[in-house]
């Protein structure tokens, strides 16, 4: 659950904030323990749903919109000099470039699209359970996932045409 929250909590103090959110979510879960699904995967989705509500509360308090963006690790650093980013250690330059492009494309998605994609990619939930986290049906989730994937592909295609210029810019500014 910490990982789920960490991906969706940004800004200063995000690290400690994530633990606070998890503690809140677990407290809520404990209070509602009678509702805990027996199936472990259902239980995960149930817990993520609670964590999501807690996260949204946090973000509302910070005046943010009621959507959960999902951040990726910082990849811009991989193009710079100095200490190599951990991701760059065993990667070819192309792979690093692909990650930079992907991170860019990801950041161009809406928060809702990121949230939908992350439930499948990072949390590994199937459509039924991911839909449960978001409070929508499995069919509606599949539709949103398909749109989000298409959007990500489109953003990547856009990025590819500017790839060289983009990378040059990064290197020059680091």
């Amino acid at each position: 659950m910490l990982r789920y929250v960490q991906r969706r909590l940004d800004g200063p103090g995000g690290r400690e904030g994530a633990e606070d959110v998890v503690a809140e979510a677990m407290t809520v879960a404990w209070r509602r323990v009678d509702d805990l699904p027996v199936d472990p995967d259902d239980a995960r989705a149930w817990l993520f749903g609670i964590a999501r509500t807690c996260l949204l509360n946090h973000r509302r308090a910070a005046g943010r919109r009621a959507a959960l963006g999902v951040r990726l690790t910082e990849v811009e650093q991989v193009s710079g000099s100095g200490a190599p980013h951990p991701l760059a250690r065993d990667s070819s330059a192309d792979l690093v470039a692909a990650r930079v492009d992907l991170a860019r494309a990801w950041s161009a998605l809406t928060e809702g699209e990121q949230d939908v994609l992350a439930l499948a990619v990072f949390e590994g939930l199937d459509s039924t359970r991911a839909g449960r986290v978001l409070g929508i049906t499995a069919v509606a989730y599949r539709l949103r996932l398909s749109r989000a994937r298409a959007q990500l592909r489109r953003r990547l295609e856009g990025a590819a045409s500017h790839a060289n210029a983009t990378r040059y810019e990064e290197i020059s500014t680091c």
């Binding site: 910490l2 990982r3 789920y4 960490q6 991906r7 103090g13 400690e16 633990e19 606070d20 998890v22 503690a23 809140e24 677990m26 407290t27 809520v28 404990w30 209070r31 509602r32 323990v33 009678d34 949204l56 509360n57 946090h58 509302r60 308090a61 999902v70 951040r71 990726l72 690790t73 990849v75 991701l87 692909a98 990650r99 992907l102 991170a103 990801w106 994609l117 499948a120 990619v121 990072f122 994937r149 990500l152 592909r153 990547l156």
Partner: protein, 387 residues
């Protein structure tokens, strides 16, 4: 096209996972914080607080909450509740005027009450000497016994000035249905002398009985008193007075889980018929009026600690404004300490967490959640001691 998209999506999934911003594994510090948070969460009730069926949800629980001032020698407040139960109308048979309890019934009830004390003390766990109750159950004597409707209430005082109350179904005086008390420790002060017209009573205690929450008070009254009237929760209750002691119980609408009982006012009736309204209560010095709270504020913070079933705990409780629906207590530093979600009900909040090492008064900060979901961070409480 579809297949190529799928292949591409799979590749993107893999790449995305390599960019996961979440921690791969927990650090030792994170694991320690996780364990602490989990322990704190599991130490709280899993909130099936609503009545469900006619049987107690759990065994009677020994829970001592000691005011922080206890370091200076105040007594424990002991609550052994029978747990919430429901169904029946709450103490419909209750009467504002008490009836005496006959000798045979009293003897049975006293024995059960003393047995309950021994049992609870045995389950008290490992307590540091300065917090160890000095109560000897054998020394406890009944100072007040009263019946209101279908229930008996026994107020006892032990040699060390500990007070213990037991609650019974009148039809079964051998079974304690609610047990509470204030247990003295080695540092507890000797009760002071009272002038005529004065009382010495702590706040109202709360417990769960067979028909729901009941409140009670037990105290001493100055010489020459023939009666004590208690005004609380819109009721006027005639206490049972006996040899300088008085006590009464009543059905309470205040939630029992909050530890903090309803406000009390005492009128003392003297032998010549004089009524001393709002008698001075030595346990509540003048000026200890509750703070005025704004709708988004918390206040009247009282911190404490004690020993529960699972070992030592520290506690905090207070009142909340009308818009406050949640209070999160940060114990110690906000980054490295614990986070405890308080229980908020009926205008009050309370939280407890396991005591670690020798900490007594770790710094606390409060986040307040409002009814509209807004979270106000780092709120400064209003009033109260030992914030």
């Amino acid at each position: 096209m579809l297949t190529s998209n799928r292949r591409r999506d799979a590749r993107l999934n893999e790449l995305l996972r390599s960019l996961d911003a979440a921690d791969g594994s927990l650090t030792d510090e994170q694991l320690a914080r996780k364990d602490t948070a989990l322990t704190a969460i599991l130490a709280t009730s899993p909130a099936p607080l609503a009545p469900r069926g006619g049987t107690p949800l759990r065994r009677p629980v020994l829970r001592w909450a000691v005011p922080v001032a206890a370091a200076a020698g105040l007594a424990f407040a002991l609550t052994m509740t029978g747990g919430p139960q429901g169904g029946a109308p709450a103490y419909a048979s209750w009467t504002p005027q008490p009836r005496p309890v006959d000798g045979d019934t009293l003897a049975v009830a006293e024995r059960a009450c003393r047995d309950g004390m021994r049992d609870s003390l045995d389950r008290g766990g490992d307590v540091p000497p300065e917090l160890r109750p000095t109560l000897d159950p054998a020394s406890a004597r009944t100072v007040v016994a009263e019946q209101r409707g279908n229930f008996l209430f026994l107020a006892m005082v032990a040699a060390d000035s500990s007070t213990v109350q037991c609650f019974f179904d009148a039809a079964d005086p051998a079974t304690v249905r609610g047990s509470t008390g204030a247990l003295a420790t080695a540092g507890s002060p000797t009760p002071g002398r009272l002038a005529p017209g004065q009382v010495d009573a702590g706040g109202a205690g709360m417990s769960g009985g067979p028909e729901g929450t009941y409140a009670y008070t037990q105290g001493r009254v100055g010489p020459g008193a023939t009666g004590v009237t208690i005004r609380t929760e819109g009721r006027t209750i005639a206490a049972t007075v006996s040899d300088g002691h008085f006590a009464a119980w009543w059905p309470s609408t205040v939630d029992a889980g909050m530890g903090r009982g309803p406000a009390l006012a005492f009128d003392v009736i003297l032998a010549d018929g004089t009524v001393v309204r709002d008698a001075r209560n030595l346990s509540q010095p003048p000026g200890s009026q509750p703070a005025t709270l704004g709708p988004r504020q918390i206040g009247d913070i009282a911190r404490g600690g004690g020993v529960g079933e699972d070992g030592e705990v520290l506690t905090v409780e207070g009142r909340v404004g009308s818009q406050v629906t949640g209070v999160t207590v940060h114990v110690g530093s906000r980054s490295g300490g614990r986070t405890v979600s308080a229980t908020v009900r009926a205008g009050a909040f309370s939280a407890e967490w396991p005591r670690r090492g020798s900490e007594d008064l770790p710094p606390l900060t409060y986040d307040v959640t409002l009814a509209d979901g807004t979270v106000l961070r780092n709120q400064q409480p209003v009033g109260g001691a030992n914030r």
